[in-house]
């Protein structure tokens, strides 16, 4: 929208250049640097594809990617299955005037520190933590269960975070639905179940896809939750990346692994984008 049309054509560029320069200097340039770095050897000169071939040939590296994809898939599915009914209850069953409060309460722990939230789950799941005390207390199990430092713990910590996130997005989606759709379905003789399956669910599907993609991206790139709750028993990709920097100072390998991780996210994005378009058509 052009408005000014005045003599100073330098003005618009003066406005947008700082932000563009910042993005180029501290986002694009680092990315290029990472690309270059990934093609060098940790020790030695010249360019090499060794860092990439190491990922594709070493099974333990592969394993980290497979673990990451498995955990992300499990987390995404469980989170949606838990969050959808919850968001539906908040949107449909809770009286209108309490909805804002109910929603705010439902996502309150979302605003606590991410590191602290994972630590809190460690407290709950520890060998002599709350859950094990409760289970042994009522005699359900004899010995405390190994809950912390397992994939179960990682998934639990993730699901806790993403249930809140997905509840927010699905709730917003459900509230945007005009009630006349449901009335129309009822008028045409559909029961509540049929209305839900054939009307409400398909209409909220795009929102679910957005939430799914968000969950995927945030989950697969997160280092904190698997490191605190999963420990080092099985590594996920972000842990593998951090390990290269922390223990060995191997920037080239860490760069290559980061780029591979990003490539996977990009593929997921393209897959989601295509799926979304088909859905809308």
């Amino acid at each position: 929208m052009a408005s000014a049309g005045n003599n100073s054509s330098a003005l618009p560029w003066a406005l947008v250049t700082p932000a563009l320069a910042w993005t180029l200097l501290f986002f694009v340039l680092p990315f290029i640097a990472m690309g270059f770095s990934s093609l060098t050897a940790h020790e030695g000169r010249g360019f090499t594809l060794a860092n990439y071939s190491q990922f594709f040939t070493d099974p333990s590296y592969w394993r980290a990617m497979v673990n990451s994809l498995e955990v992300t898939a499990i987390v995404t599915v469980i989170s949606i299955l838990l969050a959808y009914p919850f968001a539906w209850i908040l949107a449909e069953q809770v009286p209108e005037r309490w909805q804002r409060l109910a929603l705010m309460l439902a996502v309150l722990p979302f605003w606590t520190s991410y590191v602290v939230r994972s630590y809190s789950w460690l407290l709950v799941l520890a060998q002599n933590g709350v859950i094990n005390r409760a289970l042994t207390g009522i005699g359900l199990v004899g010995e405390p269960l190994q809950l912390a430092n397992t994939r179960f713990a990682t998934v639990t910590g993730f699901v806790h975070f993403f249930v809140m996130l997905l509840t927010l997005t699905i709730f917003a989606n459900l509230k945007q639905l005009s009630p006349s759709y449901r009335k129309a379905a009822a008028d045409l003789g559909a029961g509540p179940v049929r209305t839900f399956v054939h009307v409400v669910l398909p209409l909220t599907l795009p929102g679910i896809m957005v939430g799914t993609f968000l969950t995927f991206v945030l989950c697969i790139g997160d280092y904190i939750t698997p490191q605190i709750l999963g420990g080092n028993n099985e590594l996920l990709m972000p842990q593998l990346v951090m390990m290269q920097i922390g223990r060995r100072g191997d920037f080239p390998l860490a760069s290559a692994l980061s780029i591979i991780l990003m490539a996977v996210v990009t593929i997921a994005y393209l897959a989601c984008a295509r799926w979304l378009k088909i859905e809308r058509a």
């Binding site: 003005l11 700082p18 932000a19 993005t23 309460l105 002599n128 997160d222 980061s258 991780l261």
Partner: protein, 260 residues
Amino acid sequence: MRAAVRFAAWVYAIAVYGFIFLPVVVLVLFSLQATSFPIPPFTGPSLRWYQAVLSDARLTSALVNSLLVAVLSSLASVTLGFLSAWGFARFVLPGSAILRGLITLPLTVSYLIIGMGLLVLFNWAGVPKSLLAAGIGHVVINLPLCFAIIYSQMGDHQINIERAARDLGAAEWKVLLMITVPVMAPAIFAGFFLSMTFSWDEFVISFLLTRFETTLPVEIWNLLRSGLNPKTNAVGSLVFAVSIVLVVFFELTLLRRKPA
């Protein structure tokens, strides 16, 4: 049937609320533990671990660092975001869509990768690890957010007010400061507060880009090495309290204004 659905809905909702609040309740409860382990049985209430936190110079200086980085990086993000949003919304620029896409691109990349990239770049350019480096990273993640929020709120109806000011002889900088900024204040505040909360909580970029002087999430991370410790509970509860205050403030100031 209806009553049964209602009952099931209530049971389900309470179960999910329980799941959501379980870790937070355990965290806060055992921050009041009187003995040295934050595990049952509960031996408090006692404030000794809060005292331990407040007398820990590393934690208090990390808290000040975190606030400093959050405020300054958010100010930078919102300033750059606002100026560019204004430029793109009010003027026709060649390649506008691509350039806007470029500014919002960092939103789609995980913090770990943004931090890694900066680490490699700074390492190569000889920039030492510091709070400034972490702050630069925080602007990278928050600038696109501020830009997107403010740009999306720049409606055409506000253009007319700006035109009126220009017709009445206001210089461009005067239009910006006296018309656009006040009109856009809610979006500017929203961008600023969201940036504050993200920067305040950000871990991995600060972890990669700082060394001696660091932010609170990194210092809490260091505390975790000592295992389960009520002191970690206490500092975690304090951080939670600060975030809640921020969010409630955000709710009351910004969302109240929305109808206007």
